[in-house]
């Protein structure tokens, strides 16, 4: 359970008893979680559990109907989405939200402008993104619409990184990425958190996420059903138990899962 009683000055994001949804459809009922600087909190759970809705609410894209969102100690739940970005909260949404008719470089520029990064500092920041994603470095002038799906995903992540947020939220960043790129992405997240960023990661690739996470929160039907340090989840059976409850895997797809049964 959450140790909400423990005070912490360095807390970056603190979500308490959050309820939110779309219109009158409630998707998140009661979620509390925390993200510290230098740490990565992974949010896991089945599709429809409310993970994306939760991230959208934290970013200000969904209305909060109950509970609070504190960022750097200040309640931001009534702040407009673009103001939250201005304060250093960045969200990478799933489904490649990029400007398809602009070049790679312009897309990245736009990510930087949103935080008022000065033009002079841009080249240095661009270089850093191209170091992270060499595939983008080779295609700086290419229109994003011409890139493959996976490369567009890289642009979306690069955009958020350009703003050098204090809190980086990623909604299934591995979607559409080849396994080797997923590994690289996870390594990048580790580097970023070591540099001081707080990261909130929603991910379907459970094992990859746990490997880089400090803290893991599992949602089901809009509620937290497991909240534990990642180190306690090295034995994945605990997680599987929480994750799937009584539902059994069938079909023998996930070889490892069937092996462990």
């Amino acid at each position: 359970m959450t140790d909400a009683m423990q005070p912490s000055q360095a807390l970056l994001l603190e979500v308490e008893n959050l309820a939110t949804g779309y219109g009158d459809i409630r998707a998140v009922w009661d979620v509390s979680l925390k993200v510290n600087p230098h740490e990565l909190t992974a949010v896991l759970g089945r599709n429809g559990a409310g993970k994306t809705t939760l991230l959208r609410a934290i970013a200000g894209l969904n209305k909060v109907s109950n509970g609070s969102i504190k960022y750097k100690g200040q309640d931001v739940s009534s702040l407009q989405a673009h103001r939250r970005v201005g304060q250093g909260m960045a969200l990478v949404q799933d489904g490649k939200q990029v400007f398809r008719r602009l070049s790679v470089q312009d897309n990245l520029f736009l990510g930087g402008y949103s935080l008022g990064v000065s033009r002079r500092k841009m080249p240095e920041k661009l270089t850093r993104i191209y170091d992270i994603f060499p595939a983008l470095g080779e295609r700086q002038k290419v229109t994003v619409g011409q890139l493959s799906g996976g490369q567009q995903q890289m642009v979306a992540i690069g955009q958020a990184l350009m703003a050098e947020p204090s809190l980086l939220m990623l909604d299934e960043p591995s979607g559409g990425l080849a396994p080797s790129i997923v590994d690289e992405l996870m390594a990048i997240l580790v580097t970023l958190k070591h540099e001081g960023m707080g990261i909130l990661l929603v991910e379907q690739q459970v094992e990859a996420a746990i490997e880089v996470a400090d803290h893991v929160v599992v949602l089901d039907i809009g509620r937290v059903i497991l909240d534990a340090p990642a180190s306690e989840l090295v034995d994945l059976d605990v997680l599987k138990e929480a994750y799937f409850g009584s539902a059994k895997l069938e079909g023998g797809v996930a070889d490892e899962a069937t092996d462990s049964e």
């Binding site: 779309y22 459809i25 759970g45 089945r46 599709n47 429809g48 994306t52 799933d94 489904g95 490649k96 595939a135 011409q146 890139l147 493959s148 799906g149 996976g150 490369q151 995903q153 890289m154 299934e172 979607g175 559409g176 990425l177 080849a178 396994p179 080797s180 790129i181 997923v182 590994d183 690289e184 379907q204 459970v206 039907i221 994750y243 799937f244 539902a247 895997l249 069938e250 079909g251 023998g252 797809v253 996930a254 070889d255 490892e256 899962a257």
Partner: protein
């Protein structure tokens, strides 16, 4: 307790319009004054004009301003006939419809071929041409003075009385609205809405975008032609001044105010635009300002017009939707597909470059029925490009593609879809504003056809296919576990559910070849298991499955053959057992760092491509 809303739900949706129609028919008997009867008739004409525009603007997504021109065509045809001895009103209507269709098709073809706003432009100029054309044929049209001498209409030899004329107009409106309602609630209406939002999706479902748009635009000309023929018999006088640009704007305003994507919105819009102006005394001078204000109000405040508001209220207060928790366990585990008539897919020497960028080079691969053929490779290696060439979205630079013995590389995408090719998209393409069941239904467009006429007139063929549609959609929704979401708005679903929905849409067409583009991405483990089960069943049923996928475990467990693409070329092909240990796959695709010594040499010459 049975509430009012429960009772309302059991009432068929056409009840209210039917009651209104009966009342309108009886109004003169109930003592409606001649002046007010005239208003009803004018509302009727405007309704026909607006409804025709709704079909092309609201459903097909093409703005056309030419309704006054079609209206004029109908009116002049009827006026000419009436002045030259053919007074039967039915004959006049039929002739006017014929002429309207001709004008619609002739202006629609160039307008739609040129794309974007050109239909709006061509139809706009058509309106400006009306007085000039009337002037060219003064004997037939009366030129600027107008056509006079139109004899009183007859109906099978009998003179049409005032009430008879009133009845003809009202019945024409009722008949057209019923036609329109039947059309848009049928699969054709869904096809139109799909096409409006995503032409790419529509063509991959076997819908010819050009033909469908032309059909919608030309059909929209029909009620305008009818209205013209009726109008000529109102005052027995037709002058070019009636068919002005102001009329075009008021039709557009009525369409937007009433709700362009609706059937009965046309009536509401027509009433507002007909009666609204007569309230204001100094209206004649300020007509355009008034229309402009209405357009802005309609556009800003009422996204879907008055009928959209009514719909929303209906949904909110009457249809109380049950929001089931998405319980995946509800999916059927015991199911089987009817045997699929899988077709062999052969790609032979296909190359493609975009500008100077060689996306694919000399690709050769076969996919056999009853097998899963997987394509894997790094991002940007050309996997999706290859799928797009198979579907006919891109043309090949060289090489051939063959599906079941038919060369397809020169066919258009809807033609290839009609050969039995179905696909899903990397980012699911789910149109907004339609339900889950309707999304699946859109996949039924290609395998079994119904003409627009039999759909709109509800002929036996329609009911037969409708029954098949319902059964198939229900079955496939059950198989993918989305039955309890059937009536939900499809575009608000989570990503994983949208992916399953796309697969359902592809499968419901009984495809001979199915292309799955990263279908497992974003799915949770339950859903991946279900997907694997589904793909396995499709394969066992004899379907040809092409799987583009990054979930390597899923690929290994399902594929018969794996082809590995890198930088536009196939670098390895083989069984899962071969590919699993292929050093280039391990390093370039999976990013394994310490491959066994045997792979060390190969790793050495692919420096830099992986860290």
């Amino acid at each position: 307790m049975t509430t009012l809303s429960d009772r309302l739900k059991t009432v068929p949706t056409f009840t209210l319009p039917l009651v209104v129609a009966i009342v309108v028919v009886l109004l003169p008997q109930l003592g409606l004054s001649a002046t007010n009867q005239r208003q009803v008739l004018l509302i009727g004409f405007l309704t026909l004009l607006v409804s025709g525009l709704n079909l092309s603007l609201g459903y097909a997504g093409e703005l056309a301003l030419g309704q006054p021109a079609i209206y004029a065509t109908g009116a002049y045809v009827a006026a000419y006939m009436g002045a030259h001895g053919t007074t039967d009103i039915l004959l006049q209507i039929v002739a006017a419809v014929g002429a309207a269709l001709v004008v619609g098709v002739l202006t629609g073809i160039p307008g739609l071929r040129l794309g974007s706003w050109s239909l709006a432009m061509t139809s706009f100029f058509l309106v400006l041409l009306i007085p000039d054309i009337a002037n060219i044929f003064p004997n037939a049209t009366g030129g600027m003075v107008g056509a006079v001498g139109i004899a009183n209409a007859t109906f099978f030899g009998a003179q049409v009385t005032n009430y008879g004329y009133y009845l003809v107009v009202v019945l024409c409106v009722i008949f057209w609205l019923a036609f329109m309602r039947n059309l848009v609630t049928s699969r054709h209406g869904i096809a139109l809405r799909v096409m409006r939002q995503s032409p790419v999706l529509a063509s991959s479902l076997g819908i010819s975008v050009f033909r469908t748009k032309l059909l919608a635009y030309a059909l929209g000309a029909v009620p305008a032609g009818v209205a013209g023929a009726l109008f000529a018999n109102l005052d027995h006088y037709v002058s070019p001044g009636t068919f002005s640009f102001a009329l075009a704007i008021s039709i557009l305003a009525a369409s937007i105010l009433g709700g362009a994507t609706s059937v009965y919105g046309a009536v509401i819009g027509a009433i507002i635009m007909q009666l609204g102006p007569s309230v204001s005394t100094s209206f004649q001078q300020d007509a355009l300002i008034f229309y402009g204000i209405l357009l802005i109000v309609g556009g800003v405040l009422l996204a879907n017009g008055v009928s959209g508001l009514a719909n929303k209220a209906w949904k909110k207060y009457v249809v109380k939707r049950a929001h089931a928790t998405r319980d995946h366990a509800a999916a059927a585990t015991e199911f089987h597909f009817a045997p699929l008539n899988g077709a062999k897919l052969s790609v032979n020497g296909v190359s493609k470059s975009f500008g100077g960028n060689q996306a694919l080079r000399d690709i050769v691969l076969d996919a056999q029925p009853g097998q899963v053929t997987a394509l894997i490779g790094p991002n940007g290696s050309g996997k999706t490009t290859l799928l797009n060439m198979i579907c006919g979205f891109y043309r090949t630079d060289a090489g051939t593609i063959d599906i079941g013995g038919t060369r397809v590389e020169h066919l258009r995408s809807h033609e290839i879809a009609n050969l039995g090719l179905a696909r899903t998209f990397q980012t699911p393409v789910i149109p907004a504003g339609i339900t889950v069941a309707e999304v699946v239904l859109s996949g039924r467009y290609s395998p079994e056809r119904v003409s627009i006429a039999s759909a709109a007139l509800r002929l036996p063929k329609y009911w037969k296919v409708h029954a098949h549609d319902r059964a198939q959609v229900a079955e496939i929704l059950n198989i993918v576990g989305l039955s309890d979401l059937a009536d939900e708005a499809a575009d608000s679903l989570p990503l994983g559910t949208r992916r399953m929905l796309e697969i359902a849409r592809a499968l419901v067409s009984n495809p001979r070849v199915i292309l799955l583009d990263e279908s497992a991405s974003g799915l949770d483990e339950d859903e991946v298991a279900r997907l694997a089960l589904l793909i396995g069943r499709v394969r066992d049923a004899g379907g040809t499955v092409i799987l583009v996928e990054h979930n390597f475990r899923l690929v290994l467990s399902l594929a018969n053959t794996i082809h590995v693409l890198a930088q536009g070329e196939i670098i390895a092909s083989g069984t899962p057992a071969d590919i699993e240990v292929n050093p280039r796959v391990l390093t370039e695709y999976l990013g394994v760092k310490d491959v066994a010594a045997a792979a060390a040499a190969i790793e050495a010459d692919t420096t830099g491509s992986s860290r």
